[in-house]
């Protein structure tokens, strides 16, 4: 599993970035049910982030049913049926979505929109979509 070092200055908490990455890895099939994740220490050292952050992410993903923590053994992608949001169909959908996102970003970049501006536009759209107060408006 290839996890990227989080960007601390992005305005998104590091723990959310890590959580998203693990979720994403499950959705795209990079991580499959039963696969093991690195230990807290190993992941903290390889990403050079706070081990408390890793522990928290594992705990929260366990509560969400995505991971199973086996005491003294480590963290695994959950194998329980019913919680498999990352089934083959889902994984195909996510790959297609990733492509669409890529095209979208490339197109906006071509029009001279910067990364921060894109981020803000997407945030505002999501906020409107989810019925929250938009960040830009």
């Amino acid at each position: 599993m290839q996890l990227l070092k989080p960007n601390p200055a992005s305005g998104v908490p590091i723990y959310l970035q890590l959580k998203e990455q693990i979720r994403h890895a499950c959705e795209t099939g990079a991580l499959r049910p039963g696969d093991s994740l690195p230990g807290i220490r190993a992941l903290a050292e390889s990403m050079v982030i706070n081990p408390n952050t890793v522990a928290r992410v594992y705990r929260e993903l366990e509560q969400e049913g995505l991971l199973e923590l086996r005491h003294g053994v480590g963290a695994f992608v959950a194998t329980r049926p019913g919680t498999s949001r990352w089934t083959a169909a889902r994984s195909g959908q996510m790959k297609a979505a990733q492509k669409a996102a890529k095209t979208f970003v490339q197109e906006l970049k071509r029009r001279g929109i910067g990364s921060d501006e894109i981020r803000r536009l997407v945030e505002a759209e999501l906020a409107t979509h989810d019925g929250r107060v938009p960040l830009v408006g």
Binding site: G11, V12, P13, G137
Partner: protein, 310 residues
């Protein structure tokens, strides 16, 4: 001496800690807490009182007033302070070493004092740093001195690591290596308290930050709170409102510049943005703030630029 068996929540606690050097008040009534098991970044400009504070915490200088506890040992009590120092590893800014010893002698000399010495860490770091065991420490390069000082500190298996500008003078590869060591020590349950001017590295590994200015605490928060709660909200008005109308819970500072009103908030960004929209501000933007922006904002002095008023 009675060592409390009750688990203390804080590795470091100070109460109105004050230090005078002659007339100069280096530390002015500093009350702060460092929770156990955290990596806490200690920030402040040069001369803000960071090193003076660290020296008092480690029993190297006596507080003029106030008190403090480190690992629940009283910092002003000589006997307790010695006991405390066995459990604390300290890497000073100047990476002091005994110049007449070789690298190997320095390591052997140090480890006899510490029953918790971690041979595997010593070996790992010797390999990684490729330190020449028979070279006198006097003849080490600056980078190697730092590496040796770090080896001596990290191999001790200390409960608390106090690092004063640990990455100062290290190249980027070594600096990242050091951060890895810090993260590894924290994974082993150690508390890490480190001062730094490298805001990006603090942002990367710390859970908490303490910012001091002129000997006083000006910010005590978590990195998570910075990422989720601290915001800069900007709104454009036809006629700018009085800053007082935006004196809401969470508002840190309101700056009016022509038609643009900029508000720094530490929480409640959504309701504050709503208030601005209700005041018929157009184009209200809520922007995340980086730790750097927050530090600069917290260190603003009266009489600086802007017509700030909070």
């Amino acid at each position: 001496m009675e060592i409390s068996s009750v688990k203390q929540a804080y590795a470091i606690e100070t109460e109105a800690l004050t230090k005078y050097y002659g007339d100069f008040e280096a530390v002015r009534g500093l009350s702060m807490r460092v929770p156990k098991g955290t990596i806490t970044g200690f920030l402040g400009q040069n001369g803000a009182g960071k090193s003076s504070t660290i020296r008092m915490l480690l029993g190297m200088s006596r507080p003029t007033r106030g008190n403090g506890r480190v690992l629940d040992f009283d910092i002003a009590d000589e006997k307790q302070s010695i006991e405390m120092r066995k459990r604390v590893a300290y890497v000073a800014e100047d990476k002091r070493l005994y110049d007449y010893m070789t690298v190997g002698q320095m390591i052997d000399f140090t480890k006899v004092f510490y029953p918790g010495w971690r041979t595997e860490i010593e070996q790992k770091l010797l390999d990684e740093f490729r330190l020449p065991l028979d070279r006198p420490t006097k003849k080490l390069s600056k980078g190697m001195r730092t590496q040796l000082a770090l080896l001596l500190a990290f191999a001790r298996g200390a409960e608390l690591l106090v690092l004063d500008e640990p990455t100062e003078g290290l190249d980027p590869v070594m600096a990242e290596k050091l951060l890895e060591l810090v993260v590894g020590a924290a994974a082993d349950g150690a508390t890490v308290f480190f001062s730094s001017h490298q805001i990006s590295e603090v942002e990367q590994i710390a859970d908490r930050i303490l910012l001091i200015d002129r000997g006083q605490l000006v910010l005590d928060t978590t990195l998570e709170s910075i990422a989720t709660d601290f915001r800069r909200i900007r709104g454009v008005y036809d006629t700018a409102p009085k800053p007082a109308t935006l004196a809401l819970d969470g508002v840190q500072r309101v700056t009016v510049d022509g038609r643009t009103v900029s508000v720094i908030v530490t929480r409640n960004s959504i309701s504050i943005a709503e208030r601005m929209r209700a005041q018929s501000a157009s184009a209200v933007e809520v922007l995340p703030m980086t730790l750097k922006e927050i530090v600069l904002e917290s260190l603003r002095r009266e009489g600086g630029s802007g017509t700030g008023e909070a």
